[in-house]
Amino acid sequence: MAVGEAIPPTASRAALLVLADGRFPAGGHAHSGGAEAAVKAGRVRDAGTLEAFCRGRLHTAGLTAAGLAAAAAAGLDPLALDEAADARTPSPALRAAARRLGRQLTRAVRATWPSPELDALAAARPRGAHQPIVLGLAARAAGLTPLDAAYAAVYESVSGPATAVVRLLGLDPFDATGVLARLAPELDAVAARAADAARGGLDALPAGAAPLLDIMAEVHAAWPVRLFAT
């Protein structure tokens, strides 16, 4: 497959739909974003508790991921961002997962929107860079803006758990989608905040943390039997 066959950056908003689609083949389907552990602990039981869970994840891990993605899309040094992501990810299990997902996303994006920047990152981090950074470079390669990258990250931070809970609880899929729709205005706000922060450079990036998500991710990683990788 020659580099010359690369699809040129499209500067197309529709590219954001391709990138943010839950069916984009980058490994996300095997992850619940902490929802499996929350279901087991009884904290997510129905649409209402799913909404609370997603809101918490959006404003913590989601905001942090969106800041990193926007910064990468804006052209900040991906390796410096990768270190910033490590510093913002205290759970070793979640760090490993973020790198694994970053590697999977890299594979998919190098086939869909090839870019020298992503090749360089893949060469420097062959075991995977943090997923939000790859997401930002993907957006950049697709001709999208930092705000678009932030949108992809915030949407992923809630759509992953919602889909997982449909499978885990047999939750009515209409109710789960209703949760996502009700969160939409907050997704707008968090994406805008992340993109704003990215304009302030590396040190201005959000560092929201959800200690319970981190702790439960470590517990979940030790389960002998589970449906999702995280």
């Binding site: 580099v3 083949p25 389907h29 619940s32 052209g75 086939a111 360089a120 997982a164 999702f228």
Partner: protein, 231 residues
Amino acid sequence: MHLDHPDAYPHRHTYSAAHPLRGDGSRRALRIGLGGPVGSGKTATVAALCRELRDRVSIAVVTNDIYTREDAEFLLRNAVLPPERITAVETGACPHTAIRDDISANLEAVEDLEEAVGPLDLILVESGGDNLTATFSKGLVDAQIFVIDVAGGDDIPRKGGPGVTTADLLVVNKTDLAPYVGADLEGMARDAKAQRGDLPVAFTSLAAEGGVGPVADWVRAQLAAWTAGPR
């Protein structure tokens, strides 16, 4: 930033995992998928194939368990291969997604095995076991075996479905149980022929010594054809 010359990154030519050559121009390992319903004998077939072929062929296995590492652990317990040659992929409640719609985790496992213990001749990828519609992506495997068993109902070949109809080899396993479940093996063979035309069908009983023979012969033929392929 980092605007490199394209030739600096030869590995970018491996976007397409289906590409048959390694970076150095040699042919990569042949990848064979094993799919089929839960309990039909996929893991037993993988174990028997490893025992039969491992002396002459460098093999590794990727399992796609639904919610445990049972298949990988069975293979480890039975020591059919050294542990570093067996990798388990987590599939997130959707085993068919991991082998068909989003193969990224499986491709990573394949690449990591090749890197850790390669060069390999053969990589067997076992699916988590799903329904009759689950088939492997051509981006992941070069050929696929669909394993059903006589106890699952002798009408399965007649019902068809992508696995039964299009797999490169259909294995009808547990023929030793046919008398007990009243399965009509000749009828199954007839139905399979009608669904599959000239594609091969193997009837096996892994309960018997050397029972995997017909499948092993087919794999050997695939390997020979693969190795002889263009470079």
